[in-house]
């Protein structure tokens, strides 16, 4: 018996809480949060993570050099595709001229992407088979022949001659 | 698609191994699960099958439990749940489960695994007890002060 009044109050509170949005028109967000990853961004992250795995596997001796270069090339292309798609998404949303470079930052994905894109875009075309290779590669990822060394490369190409 | 075929080949391979293990496992280790009457009937019909392990369940006969401190040996009797005249004498040489209670207050079902020996004794290697109605019951309502309320039996 003594629970009737608190019980009724409880019921009213619950009903009010639940009906409130409908009565006031308050809405839960159903939109993409702008800070949430889109699918393209997600795929880019996955590709970058896969790249890191490949680096690690190579360092740990699980991959030989040819497979390593080839896989690096593959995954880099995937990353680039995802980045391109992402840029297209941004354009579609009307954000113009998105700059990739972030001044000076050595951490953060932006610098990473910049380096990656640069290294792929400004890479070396193999003189033997015409396959484009990331900058700094010494051997063609496709046919395996030696690539001419780049002059003026700013990355630490150790012992480059 | 050649790769997918290899995937399926792997799947089939593993499935084959597992199936083989299960099949031999069952045929090697399966035991019949019998009541005392069924056990005695089988024993009478084909004594040699009794060398195999078997699982028997029955109701513990209250007061039949004998144990001593001279040796680790428990003996008790188990009756067929459907026919109380059918009794099985059991020997068990390990500590009994704590719920083993032959006081008769509760009905105790005993599930045992072991062998039925030629002498008519069931030598158990494993004993489990189940007390079905022990921990869930309706209590008896308090009797009213005047003796008129003859509402019949106690509820167990």
């Amino acid at each position: 018996m003594s629970a009737i009044i608190p019980g009724v109050l409880l019921a009213l509170a619950a009903v009010f809480l639940v009906l409130h949005p409908i009565l006031t028109g308050r809405e839960a967000s159903m939109e993409w949060d702008k800070e949430e990853l889109t699918e393209a961004q997600h795929r880019r992250n996955v590709a970058l993570l896969a790249l890191r795995d490949v680096e690690y596997d190579f360092h740990a001796g699980k991959l030989d050099e040819r497979d390593y270069r080839a896989m690096k090339q593959e995954i880099s292309s995937e990353a680039l595709d995802a980045i391109d798609e992402e840029e297209a998404e941004w354009h579609a949303r009307g954000v113009e001229g998105v700059e990739l470079a972030v001044p000076g930052a050595s951490e953060g994905l932006e610098a990473e992407i910049a380096a990656l894109r640069a290294s792929i875009r400004e890479g070396i075309v193999c003189p033997q088979c015409g396959h484009p290779n990331p900058r700094g590669s010494r051997f063609c990822g496709d046919c395996g022949s030696a690539l001419p060394a780049r002059t003026g490369a700013t990355e630490s190409v150790a012992g480059g001659s | 698609m050649g790769r997918d075929r290899r995937f399926f080949a792997g799947l089939v391979g593993v499935a084959a191994v597992v199936t083989y293990l299960i099949y031999t496992g069952v045929s090697d280790t399966m035991v019949y699960y019998l009541t005392p009457s069924e056990l005695l009937a089988r024993a009478a019909a084909s004594p040699e099958t009794m060398e195999q392990g078997v699982k028997v369940s029955g109701m513990l006969v209250p007061g039949s439990h004998v144990h001593s401190t001279e040796e680790l040996l428990h003996t008790f009797a188990v009756e067929d749940p459907n026919d109380a005249s059918v009794l099985l004498n059991v020997e068990f040489r390990h500590p009994l489960p704590d719920t083993f209670d032959d006081s008769g207050e509760l009905e105790v079902e005993v599930v045992m695994q072991g062998r039925y020996l030629a002498g008519g004794v069931f030598q158990a290697t494993e004993v489990l007890t189940k007390c079905g109605s022990r921990y869930e019951a309706m209590p008896e309502p308090p009797q009213p002060a005047n003796a008129e309320a003859g509402d019949g039996g106690m509820i167990g």
């Binding site: 629970a3 159903m30 992250n45 | 995937f7 209590p139």
Partner: protein
């Protein structure tokens, strides 16, 4: 008043949950944010209401309110307060409410964690969760009401089964329920991904940490259960392949498979249908587990009394859930096509897939063995059963394959591995394998499976240690850190991988602990005070236990007969050990219960059981003529390794679960990507601390030239 309020709260929760479920789905379908919000509020409201209901049960127990049927049957005035509190989950009725409570808490958590993410999925996730909440609330109201009253108030309750009056009662069941109920969330995400048609890798992202959390709780629960059985049942065993034990193992096996195969989907986009199936199967297994336990259809020492209504209800739930999931998967099959194919049989993907198949094979075998009596009875009329010999015979070889895979997986590369490098990397671990095998064989270890377990275990441990060593060394070189810092940072940068390796280390040690059973020793003896019993340990020690005497004491609600022994190991005194038989007077009729004495060293347990004692002793006599008793002494080699291994496993899982190192800074929207992921609950692939640029660009530059 509170219990009555709790009952009212339970009644209110039902319409609210149904309302919320309907509105969540409608809101999602019609894109009406207000309906969706109403649905979310319903979940929070249900959580609050179920909390009040649970509180009501607890208060009824603590207040000895025996007019409630449930309190009457599971408590008594002299029951220790811990066990009055745990009465909430001690029996069928309370535990179903407890399930609902846990589910509601996890549902609220899932909603809150995703308040700014996955917004297209959340209405459906919420709907699915509320559907199950409504289901459990309905059962609690109409089938197993915890607040059912007797109509009068008995003066005392029937008390709690003495075997449950053990501190594990407050730990093991709740952990198990946490494990089971938390699997509902990933399932809800999977269903909503199907309904919405958004089947890229992100729904996997949202669920992976949930599945890992559930897996963590379930692993803990199973280990706690083993420890409880070992301490309390008094037979020196920790696992009996009992149907309810098996039931809790099944979701664990499938979840383990999912945890691995999800990594394949994340990196390669393959196996989408497979993963979807695994998530559904894991959840179905939890329902199946609760069906087995609560229906009492298969005989078990754990199960509740047989209840056909409950059996049908859960079987129905299983069928409906499975059917709906199947329909949804088939409907969305076109969207679930793989992004690529397997490139090579020699790859980590293949190893993981083999792992999956093997784990599912074990799950199938365990299911088969557990249901066997039902199946044969249905088909042939005669009841046949299989027990531990079956499960051991089938699962041990498969377990050894799994063990070997744990050593192969880390060494094989993703996508395709070079055979030449494999040979080189496996050389040392294989040498260790053969070395350990030879050494053990030569010192007398001849048991085939035990030999293999130890040798394969050494193989796996070698692989993992080498991985850690190589990784630390590489990182120390690249980042120019000292070894210790490199080691810590290495783990922090990729918690999933290194946490996973630590989990594997734990599993290996546990397997070795299991293998010790092959060398158990046992002695049974009747003794009077002054006599000594000797038992050999397989490690070569000799234990001499000298019986000092039997003393009886009477404490409130219990009579104890305590046998005291002094122990010598190879002639050296190492202390004493006691074992007891207790007569618990708090229940009617009084129940005897044994308390074993266990003495653990690093490598083995000395386990002492007081088997039979004169009844006079239990009635209080200290007369010398009743001092004779029979004892069973066991030496259980390597059992402590099970608990150590479990601890390591839990640590590894926690490392894998830990949120990323430092929340990433949200870059300004203008001129950048907004690239950093939110970090909370979006595990693994976030750039925060994971694929950091320092790592990548410096390692890129380091390999160049």
């Amino acid at each position: 008043m509170i219990p009555a309020l709790g009952e009212v709260a339970l009644w209110i929760a039902l319409p609210i949950s149904i309302w919320g479920c309907v509105l969540a789905f409608l809101g999602g379908r019609w894109s009406r944010g207000d309906l969706v919000l109403s649905g979310e509020r319903s979940t929070f409201a249900v959580t609050a209401l179920l909390s009040i209901a649970a509180l009501g049960v607890v208060v009824a127990f603590m207040g000895d309110q025996f007019q409630y049927w449930y309190v009457y049957n599971y408590s008594s005035t002299n029951l220790h307060p811990y066990y009055k509190f745990s009465g909430l989950w001690a029996g069928q009725r309370g535990s179903l409410l407890f399930w609902g409570l846990n589910l509601s808490l996890f549902s609220s958590l899932a909603l809150w964690m995703n308040r700014s993410r996955n917004r297209d999925l959340m209405p459906y996730v919420n709907g699915v969760l509320l559907a199950f909440l409504a289901f459990f609330i309905s059962i609690s109201l109409f089938v197993t009401p915890p607040f059912e009253q007797l109509g009068f108030t008995p003066t005392d309750g029937r008390g709690l089964n003495p075997q449950l009056q053990n501190y594990w009662m407050t730990i093991h069941p709740p952990t198990m329920y946490l494990g089971f109920t938390s699997f509902t969330v990933p399932f809800a995400f999977a269903m909503s991904a199907l309904m919405v048609g958004r089947l890229d890798a992100r729904w996997i992202q949202a669920t992976r940490k949930w599945i890992l959390t559930s897996w963590f709780f379930l692993s803990l629960a199973v280990i706690f259960g083993m420890r409880w059985a070992y301490e309390e049942l008094g037979w020196g065993g920790y696992w009996f392949w009992d149907p309810v034990e098996n039931a809790s193992l099944l979701p664990w096996l499938v979840a383990t498979a999912f945890l691995h195969s999800v990594m394949i989907q994340e990196s390669t986009g393959m196996l989408k249908v497979w993963n979807m199936g695994l998530v559904v199967l894991t959840f179905l297994m939890t329902i199946f587990a609760t069906f087995l336990t609560r229906s009492g259809l298969i005989e078990s020492v754990h199960s509740f009394a047989q209840n056909l209504t409950i059996a049908w209800i859960f079987l129905g739930c299983l069928g409906v859930t499975g059917g709906v999931a199947l329909v949804l998967i088939i409907w969305r099959l076109p969207l679930l096509s793989s992004d690529r194919q397997f490139e090579s049989m020699l790859s980590r993907e293949s190893a993981f897939l083999l792992n999956n198949l093997v784990l599912l094979g074990v799950a199938f075998a365990v299911t088969w063995g557990t249901l066997f009596p039902l199946i044969t009875e249905g088909l042939t009329g005669s009841k046949v059963s299989v027990g531990p010999p079956f499960f051991n015979q089938v699962n041990i070889p498969i377990g050894l394959i799994l063990l070997a895979l744990m050593g192969i997986g880390p060494v094989i590369a993703w996508r395709r591995a070079s055979p030449r490098n494999l040979r080189r990397n496996f050389l040392f671990p294989c040498a260790v394998f053969l070395g350990i095998l030879t050494i053990l064989f030569s010192v007398g270890v001849r048991h085939f499976y035990a030999l293999l377990t130890f040798s394969l275990g050494a193989f796996v441990l070698t692989v993992i240690v080498v991985e850690f060593w190589k990784g630390t060394r590489a990182r120390a070189r690249i980042e120019e850190e000292n070894s210790f810092t490199a080691f810590v940072h290495l783990i922090r940068r990729n918690r999933r991988r290194w946490g996973g390796y630590i989990v594997h280390v734990g599993v290996v040690i546990m397997f070795m602990g299991f293998a010790g059973t092959a060398y158990d020793r046992e002695v049974r003896q009747s003794m009077v005070p002054g006599e000594t019993l000797t038992i050999q340990s397989p490690f070569g020690y000799e234990y001499a236990l000298t019986y000092q005497g039997l003393s009886t004491t009477l404490v409130p609600s219990m009579r104890q007969a305590i046998a005291l022994f002094t122990v010598q190991k190879d002639g050296v005194d190492i202390g004493s050990i006691t074992t007891e038989r207790q007569l618990v007077l708090a229940v009617n009729p009084p129940q005897p219960i044994s308390q074993v004495g266990v003495r653990s060293t690093l490598v083995e347990d000395l386990y002492l059981i007081l088997a039979t004692v004169d009844d006079a002793v239990l009635l209080g006599s200290n007369d010398p003529q009743f001092q004779r008793a029979t004892f069973q002494v066991l030496v259980n080699p390597l059992v402590p390794w099970i608990w150590y291994g479990g601890l390591i496993l839990a640590t590894g899982a926690l490392i894998g679960l830990w949120p990323g190192a430092g929340a990433p800074t949200r870059s300004a929207r203008m001129g950048s990507r907004g690239g950093a992921s939110t970090g909370t609950g979006a595990p693994g692939v976030g750039p925060n601390g994971e694929a950091s640029s320092t790592d990548l660009s410096t390692s890129v530059s380091a390999t160049v030239g």
